[in-house]
């Protein structure tokens, strides 16, 4: 992977291997996320995408290889994480859910108020701070989950197929919102998805993975400038990139077929 000009790497996985018992989930996996970049991990289900995020989040340790952190990452706290489900505490209000990471850091409610208010405002849910998760729609719950991930102002945001369970309309809107949030906050994002369209729309760079054991098969840059809008989804450039990524995904599946 070219670590040439441009921003420094925030986190880099180098030759990482991960086994679960006899199962080889990741083999010689290499990935670099540079500061301010949105990297999409794209691959078939079971290819170890989520495992990559768990390794970066520190929830699992690599069997081989190493994970190196840039200075900007080591200075910041733990990464913000958004799972496929909103994983909110059903017994707590939206405000308390968003405040959780600060609470775990020992920050008093009063001192946490500005950060919580800002995180809620950034996902457009300021008015629902006192609601309980069950009173919200699926899209709104996911927004709360994103606000919770943002509240500590992390340098790195890890998102594990966060919009996969949502309907297409909600998904498009959250895609737009995510890009807007990122433009304002400037966090580095590693985004796992199995949707080609979502990857092309969001990412600066797409890493296509092979089926198990997961490897970085091909890397495709999406050079389209930000802000990206609905017009980008209609553009020939978007269609061309989608074709390219789809072809790479198909090739990744085939290559693995030979391996098996």
């Amino acid at each position: 992977m070219a670590a040439g000009a441009g921003p420094a790497a925030l986190v880099a996985l180098d030759g990482v291997e991960k086994r679960f018992g006899d199962l080889l989930a990741l083999a010689d996996f290499t990935l670099e996320a540079r500061e301010g970049e949105l990297v999409a991990l794209l691959g078939p289900s079971g290819c170890g995408k989520s495992t990559v995020l768990r390794l970066i989040a520190g929830l699992a340790r690599p069997g081989r290889g190493r994970i190196a952190w840039g200075p900007a990452a080591t200075a910041a706290g733990p990464p913000g994480v958004v799972f496929q489900d909103p994983t909110l505490m059903p017994w707590a209000t939206v405000e308390a859910n968003v405040r959780l990471p600060l609470r775990l850091a020992g920050i008093a409610r009063r001192d946490a108020r500005p950060a919580v208010a800002e995180a809620l405002a950034s996902v457009g849910l300021s008015a629902r701070a006192d609601a309980y998760p069950r009173e919200l729609s699926g899209g709104m719950r996911m927004r709360v989950s994103i606000a919770r991930a943002l509240v500590t102002r992390p340098a790195l945001l890890l998102m594990d197929e966060p919009f996969a369970a949502l309907d297409e309309i909600t998904r498009f809107r959250l895609n737009d919102d995510l890009l807007a949030i990122r433009a304002r906050r400037g966090a580095t994002i590693v985004f796992v998805t199995h949707s080609v369209f979502e990857a092309v729309f969001l990412a600066d760079r797409i890493v296509v993975m092979t089926p198990r054991p997961g490897r970085a098969f091909r890397e495709i840059a999406v050079a389209a400038p930000h802000p990206r809008t609905a017009a980008f989804r209609q553009s020939p450039a978007f269609a061309a990139r989608c074709r390219e990524v789809s072809a790479a995904l198909a090739a990744a599946m085939e290559g693995a077929g030979d391996d098996l």
Binding site: R54, A57, G58, L59, P78, P79, V81, F83, D85, T87, M89, P90, W91, A92, L100, P101, R103, L104, A105, Y132, P133, R134
Partner: protein, 275 residues
């Protein structure tokens, strides 16, 4: 317009269903009492075999001072046993789930304790524990505490995995994980356990008194039933039984109300009641 009409219809249906939930069982009770009364008079059953509902009511009214005192005794034992069961069951559940080996070492023995019939160990309890109240209380507690323990252990273990991951990422301390994640997750399970324990604590209080005898002045309702049976005062036996049943229902409803109040904002079990 149509949707509004339907919404109103739904509200009407819900109201009717709520009303029926009380009305129908009450109607069954009334019918049963009438049938009972009719049966007793029609067949001229002697009152020492089967007293009529009216006679039971009379016995209840006439014997009320003594029965009320015994009722208070039984209620006291049941409630104390329930409180002890809830506290010790939850406490022990938290303790055992802190370490995997603790749970594996001790939980099976709790099961053994649970499956041993209380009536079979009552004579031993009589030897080892001094004082009537302590004996009866111990028996009732022993019967009631296991459902709380088992349910709370299950609840503590059923905390959302990804929320647990989130706690790990943010380096939550053990007590933070317990207080912010595991205990709230366990609350519905704990309350379900307490609901079972509510009934069992009353059963335990009555059975214990049958097994241990009365404590003289501190006689509970079980002793009143035995006493009445010696004297062939069948109506009085029924009167004591009615009080026990009412107590059981009251405990059940009280625990249910508590659960509803604690869970109504978020848990599906409590939400279902509202709709």
């Amino acid at each position: 317009m149509i949707s509004r009409g339907e919404a109103a219809g739904d509200g009407e249906a819900a109201r009717r269903q709520r009303r029926d939930r009380w009305l129908l069982p009450a109607a069954v009770l009334a019918l049963a009492l009438v049938a009972w009364q009719a049966l007793v008079s029609a067949l001229a059953i002697p009152h020492y075999i089967l007293p009529s509902p009216g006679r039971v009511a009379q016995a209840l009214a006439a014997g009320f001072p003594a029965l009320a005192l015994s009722w208070w005794m039984t209620l006291k034992v049941a409630l104390m046993a329930l409180a002890l069961a809830a506290a010790s069951g939850a406490g022990l559940a938290v303790l055992l789930t802190r370490r995997r080996w603790l749970e594996m070492s001790f939980l099976p023995w709790m099961v053994v304790l649970q499956v041993t019939p209380i009536i079979a160990i009552a004579p031993l309890i009589f030897i080892y524990i001094d004082g009537h109240l302590a004996r009866v209380l111990f028996c009732a507690w022993l019967v009631a505490f296991f459902p709380v323990l088992a349910n709370t252990v299950l609840g503590l273990r059923s905390a959302d995995e990804h929320l647990g991951d989130l706690m790990t990422i943010h380096r939550a301390r053990g007590w933070q994980r317990l207080w912010l994640l595991e205990l709230p997750s366990a609350l519905p399970h704990f309350l379900a356990g307490v609901r079972i324990a509510g009934g069992l604590s009353l059963v335990g209080a009555v059975v214990a008194e049958f097994a241990m005898g009365s404590g003289g002045a501190a006689a509970g309702l079980a002793f009143r039933i035995l006493e009445a049976s010696y004297r062939l005062e069948t109506a009085r036996m029924f009167a004591a039984l009615v009080l026990i049943v009412l107590t059981g229902v009251a405990i059940h409803l009280a625990v249910g109300l508590l659960a509803h109040l604690l869970l109504r904002r978020w848990h599906a079990s409590a939400l279902a009641r509202e709709s």
